[in-house]
Amino acid sequence: MPGPSERVVLDTMLARTLANRLRELRELLGRWARTVAVLLGPLGWPVDPTAVLRAGAGWADRSAAALTRRIALAEAADEGAGPPPAPGPPGTSGTAGRRLVVTLRPDPFHGDADAARAAGARLGAALVGAALAPTADLAMLRAVAARLRLAADDADLLDGVVTAIGPSRLAAVLRLAERVTGGGFTVMATAAGYQVGPARGGDRGRPDAPGRWLPTAVAGELTAVLGAALAAFSRSGRLTAAWLSRFNARGIPGTAETTLLGPLLAARRFSPSTLRMLGDALFASMDLHGNRFGTRAGTLTDPTGLGTGAPATRDIGCYGGDPGGRRRAAYGAAVLRAIADEPGLAARFADAHVEAILAGSRLAALPLATGVPPPVSDAWAYLVSRAGGPDARRVDPTGAATFMAHLGFAVYRYQAEHTDPGRRMDTSWPLPAGLRAVFADLLHVWRHELYASAANLLPAAEALRDPSGDGLVASWPAGAATGNPAGPWSTRLAGPADGTRIPARVWAALLGEALAAGGPTAETLIGDAAGQAAGLEQAGWLSTRGYRGDGRAAYPASPRALVHLQQAAMVAFFLTTLTDTATRLALRAELAAGEEARRATMAIDQLAAVARAIKVDDVLGSLYGITLGVVVTGVADAAKPDGEPSPATLAAIARVADAAAVLPGWQDAYRTSATAVWLRRADDPIAPVDVVDATGTRRTFTGDPRADGFITGTADDFLDPADRPLPPERMSPAARSAYLRWLASPAIVANNDNIPTAPG
């Protein structure tokens, strides 16, 4: 009889530690039983404590097993009770340290994992017998499915089920449930139950004949419970390439009919390493050359490196019929969506395949029959949206920043190679509107980093800069494996702040694509630009409150001058990107014909509506003003049936861009003059600046980075022995951050008498 339902409160990490300590106690007691035998045996056992020691070891062993099972049950119950668990802080993996409060169903096995596995094995055997019999025993299948649904949280039982069925027979059962033809396999009745093997001879009594397919309702129940079972098997780390090498109904080693897994993947969460393996093989099996989407066999490799040296497992999709590749497409979309919903995996996986995703998406957007299945291209866009989304950013900051950098870099390189408005050339394939809208959502998530990069005083990531000139490297750095914890594209910084070191032109490439989507996304993007500029201004005012003091001090510049300069840079960045996008779209409309030209013209008109609303003498003020009404009106105006962009439209856009321009190279100019202020302090003393902080306390900035608290030790010292700032690329992350804060500090800004101003 199962016991009563039980309310359990568990800290998963501490409970796992407890189970490990129990295993250590078992080992210790075992060793002592042996020691006691050595000591007291030769003496004729004057006393014999070994029975107590062995009993203690047995108790520790049983307790460890029962606790491990309880943790698994609680985690499964917790996961089944609601949405995926809130991810822990960066650095913790998965469910570590999570506090679970769940009410567990009565455990029929009283904590005995082996008994649960044995029961699972019996259920698995019953399932195979009922499904593979010449006439399927539907009542038995329903009963097994019902029993498995009840045990959906019991990883031990589910493990027993999958182990008993085995990969080949599971593939055969799934073929019958999913109604796949042409399997070329046979079912043999043996003493060990039904077994499968390759078919020989004629097709009499073919096991995959439609007559043996399972009815839809039963098949649906069965795939759901088998999905949950396989997910548990995957989470226990046993769904490896080696296991999949026999996952085919013919029982031939080395081939995996992965496509059959499609309907199972949505049932429960599979382990990230299984998903990574399936996802990598999925991309390896895609053929994106030329202008046709095709598939071929891929290779399944364990991401953990387990089983290296073993014969490769080929991902063959599935034997037999898959008209139109619909099954493969559904499977591919299921894998991609499952990966996208794993925030610890999505960014790194998408980063590894970003070029293929973009190439495939461009192919999908062509107005030709290219064969890209819509479920797959939708899943690509979903994966991109999650890989740079808020969840991935929180769980895997470095991976998400790297993904954004790589995504922007790939878009930038593609544009650089395929479009040149100066030579009136555009051979690019546009991205689908859906993916452009996803870019806009991502840029909203990364708005702070985007505009901080545009107004950054320091050059962007060295790893992406072409050492021979001003441009970017031609291809993504080879050492950019995302496994590098220091952050691959910037060898210096890690963490979410990395996003600010993505070069502005890379961000601009993404922003341009997002603006080209037109419609309501442009509204959000303008709001972001205005919001970031306003936030910067607010921060600038707060950090320099009360600097005028008694009015007697006179400074060469306002301590807020840098903020204004950076604000201008942000606005100019946005408007320049807007103009460039409009120019590109105008060229596109001119070169293209028909529907694409119409859409391009519409987007230009929307951008022009934004541009017209900006008053040249108050760029920032009008940016705030247009965040809502104007764009919507603009969209309505722009929804004209046809026509090329009018010269007036293009002129309006150009006028705004000119108004917003900042002096090129203003960052270097500012740093040079700030350094001069510091180095010439003996001749021209730096006038100290008093400010009042939020608590009303006065603080004096002298311009000396040590006295002002920017350099606190050797870790953040950015000065060389001669007190000159080191070259930025040689600074440590801490020193770099201190240097930036010092450059923007009130005394340095206010004493800087050569702050570059906007042209005109």
Binding site: T35, V38, L39, P42, P46, W59, L67
Partner: protein, 122 residues
């Protein structure tokens, strides 16, 4: 080499020159066993302490956890009693033995190890 520790070979056992007696090896081994068993009690206590600490830190709470904590306390008590009793019994038995025995006394020779076990050590 002279000495009375368990690591001393029977052939090297110290002789009492006055009476022509030799060290009672059985007594020596009983005393050594008592000392080792006391160390065992300490080692097991050190291994059990983190278990109660983890429970108190909130690893697992609820009625089942309370029941298990009681089991743990019982097992621990049983183990420390087993080690303690065995150590005391060994020491008592040793004390009942003479310190010196005649060279032809069986206790003058160290008993051989159990089949399959090394002599001395763990």
């Amino acid at each position: 080499m002279t000495g009375t520790g368990p690591g001393v070979d029977a052939g090297d056992a110290a002789r009492d020159p006055a009476a022509g007696l030799v060290v009672n090896q059985r007594r020596v081994m009983l005393l050594a066993a008592a000392a080792t068993l006391e160390r065992g009690a300490d080692e097991v206590a050190a291994a059990v302490r983190p278990l109660t600490a983890a429970l108190e830190a909130g690893a697992w709470a609820g009625p089942a956890a309370d029941a298990w904590a009681r089991e743990l306390a019982q097992v621990w008590a049983g183990l420390s009693r087993a080690f303690g009793d065995a150590a005391v019994d060994c020491a008592d038995t040793a004390r009942a033995q003479p310190e010196w025995v005649a060279p032809d006394d069986p206790r003058a020779v160290r008993p051989s190890a159990l089949p399959g076990f090394p002599r001395d050590g763990r």
